[in-house]
């Protein structure tokens, strides 16, 4: 499942995506640079994880790809077609049926006054996936079975409050699958669930990618689950994607100083807390007040003068990996 060949067309591609938000009043307001120049590709049956701390811009990227926000700059390509240039409700509907979302909080993403079937019913109708009562019900049962909510005819009658967090998240996934998507954007889909339930959801998504060839953009703050579920990891810091590598490479051989810090911060029971972990320091910067340099420079132990001047461009280290850091200037700049 490694689409390294250039012959394979990405299903969804972000090209140089940026998003700015304006805050405050007309004269007093600042600009939050939430995402700057994000580029990456998603393939069929391939999982890309977007990892970063809160405020790093990962959810903003997801919302741009879901067409909930318009990017300030950059393009979104679906099967090579520029999505942002398409106009009209029909085109948006088509795109959204192909690119579905699963949200973080299964406790608020389902309508409490409707039965579980309602959430899955709506996309079936909106995207016209089944006509007539019999066909609709048939489809509902299939989808509930697909996400292992069995016996399905019992589960479709339940209300959200009768379901556990894990079951609700399965419904959210069934809802996304109802549109027959090629890509699922999963924004922290397991972070609100209990440990023993999380794995079930991750394994379900892994199964869907395997059997249905769905591509996933998996957004998380948890490097360990990213490693478990994804083929490739993008690390975000303060609006920039600072490193991209295959999951195993990134975990075993992190290049960017921020990735190294992030990995050092993951609890490691076999080692216990050690004083050398004091390397983990500082907090993420205020995004309204970013200088021109690398936003990680104030926390970086390898910081050089040049780091304060401008954000380095991506440097390719190997075929499938690049990093944005002056420490790796000997690499080949990414065009």
């Amino acid at each position: 499942m490694n689409p390294s060949g250039n012959d394979k067309q990405p299903i969804l591609e972000a090209r140089n995506l940026s998003k700015e938000f304006h805050t405050g009043g007309a004269f007093t307001g600042g600009t939050v640079k939430a995402v700057q120049g994000a580029s990456f590709k998603l393939y069929r049956g391939h999982v890309v994880a977007l990892v970063g701390e809160s405020g790093s811009g990962k959810s903003t990227i997801v919302r741009m790809l879901a067409r909930l926000y318009d990017p300030t700059e950059g393009d979104i390509l679906y099967e090579g077609e520029n999505v942002l240039e398409q106009r009209g409700r029909r085109a948006l509907l088509d795109y959204r049926s192909k690119v579905q979302m699963v949200f973080q909080d299964p406790f608020s993403s389902l309508n409490p006054v409707h039965r579980a079937s309602h959430a899955v019913h709506r996309p079936l109708k909106i995207y016209d996936k089944a006509r007539g009562r019999g066909a609709l019900r048939q489809k509902l049962i299939e989808l509930f079975e697909l996400v292992s909510l069995t016996p399905a005819d019992e589960f479709i009658e339940k209300y959200p409050h009768q379901l556990s967090g894990g079951q609700r998240q399965r419904i959210a996934i069934a809802r996304a699958l109802a549109a027959e998507p090629e890509v699922i954007l999963a924004d922290e889909p397991v972070s609100m669930l209990d440990v023993s339930i999380r794995l079930g959801i991750l394994n379900l998504m892994a199964d869907l990618r395997e059997k249905q060839g769905i591509g996933f953009l998996y957004v998380t703050h948890d490097l360990a689950s990213a490693r478990y579920f994804s083929d490739e990891i993008l690390v975000m810091y303060a609006g920039y994607i600072v490193e991209q590598a295959t999951s195993e490479e990134l975990i075993s051989n992190p290049k960017h100083p921020y990735t190294q810090m992030l990995l050092a911060a993951v609890p490691d029971p076999s080692r216990g807390l050690k004083t050398e972990d004091a390397d983990v320091q500082g907090e993420i910067p205020d995004l309204t007040d970013l200088g021109s340099g690398c936003p990680f420079a104030p926390r970086c132990k390898h910081v050089m003068d040049v780091c304060h001047e401008a954000m380095p461009g991506p440097t390719r280290l190997e075929d499938e990996r690049w990093v944005r850091c002056y420490l790796y200037e000997e690499g080949v700049p990414v065009a």
Partner: protein, 330 residues
């Protein structure tokens, strides 16, 4: 790892708590017993609804109806916390015990400066002048890694991590002997979490208080605790030195839990997880509460008899019918 040779600071004996709801009594904590020693970090782990926070709230006497303590004792040294008069309780809280909650970052009063909130706590319990208290507050902020200038900052001017540090500073203000920390870092990013855990451990070494640390994150718990207890569906199923449990979990639930979270350390491996979901405690399964999810359950035993928590050598305690047999033989 120190051996807790001294007398226990807190002894929880056969604690039972239930929530009386319209649907019936939820037996949230059943016959839970453990000791917490001086200068020790004891970690309590388990999934949501397993009763870990209820135990913490019982110790602090913060349980309110519909929660009722239906049995057991909680001894602080030799005084039963559950029998304390309101006056005793008032002195016990803060002077000997303080609490850091999960959402503590949001528990700060938004219209008071950080400094004044620390000073408040001190002046309410000690005869200390404002100036003295302010000096002490600054010192506390420095201790938890906040710039002293921040003493006059309001909560909204601080980041989440700094607010959580400020709450820890308040918890330390009266030099308590026990601090209960209920998911103190769950709302924080990993990097900030790491910094705060480090801080907590350093402070413990410096001041010598005990910590009851509650979290669902087992790897974090093993990292910070000297000993841990694992709760499942209102019962304590395993307890012992954290590294020993991590290396060799005895209870099938602990074992499966350890196999449920991916890690960045060591080789990547397939994870099994735990089938099913925790039970509804209005009508918990008979016998061992874990038996419906346990592959190793013995018919006629695990589904009928409640396994007692037994000492299996060293400092390890386990409540499982399988272990009894295995350990008695060896």
């Amino acid at each position: 790892m120190k051996a807790p040779a001294n007398d226990p600071l807190i002894q929880i004996q056969e604690l039972n708590v239930e929530y009386r709801t319209l649907r019936g009594a939820v037996r949230a904590v059943e016959n839970v017993s453990f000791d917490l020693y001086a200068n020790e970090v004891f970690g309590l782990a388990g999934e949501s609804g397993c009763g870990k926070t209820t135990v913490a709230n019982a110790i602090t006497r913060l349980l309110k109806p519909p929660a009722y303590i239906t049995g057991g004792r909680i001894l602080f040294r030799d005084i039963d916390i559950l029998q304390m008069s309101p006056e005793q309780l008032r002195n016990f809280r803060w002077d000997q015990l303080s609490i850091v909650f999960q959402s503590a970052m949001n528990a700060l009063n938004p219209v008071l400066t950080i400094g004044n909130q620390i000073i408040d706590a001190m002046q309410a319990h000690q005869s200390i002048s404002y100036e003295q208290a302010r000096g002490h507050a600054k010192q506390l902020l420095r201790t938890v890694g906040i710039d002293v200038q921040r003493v006059d900052s309001y909560p909204h001017q601080l980041s989440g991590g700094m607010r959580q540090r400020a709450v820890i500073a308040i918890a330390l203000a009266l030099n308590p002997e026990l601090i209960i920390m209920d998911e103190p870092t769950t709302a924080l990013d990993v990097v900030v979490q790491k910094q705060i855990l480090q801080e907590i451990k350093d402070l413990r070494d410096q001041f010598g208080f005990s910590i009851l640390f509650i979290t669902h994150d087992l790897s974090l718990l093993v990292e910070i605790s000297d000993r841990i207890g694992i709760m499942y569906a209102g019962k304590l199923v395993e307890a012992g030195p954290s590294l020993e449990i991590f290396a060799d979990p005895k209870h099938p639930y602990t074992d499966r839990l350890m196999n449920s979270f991916p890690t960045v350390h060591g080789p990547r491996r397939e994870l099994l997880g735990i089938p099913g979901a925790p039970p509804d405690l209005i009508d918990p399964p008979a016998g061992c509460r874990f038996h419906p999810r346990c592959e190793l359950a013995i018919d006629g035993e695990c589904d009928k008899l409640i396994p007692p928590l037994i000492r299996i050598g060293g400092e390890r305690d386990v409540a499982c019918h399988l272990i009894k047999e295995a350990e008695v033989v060896s």
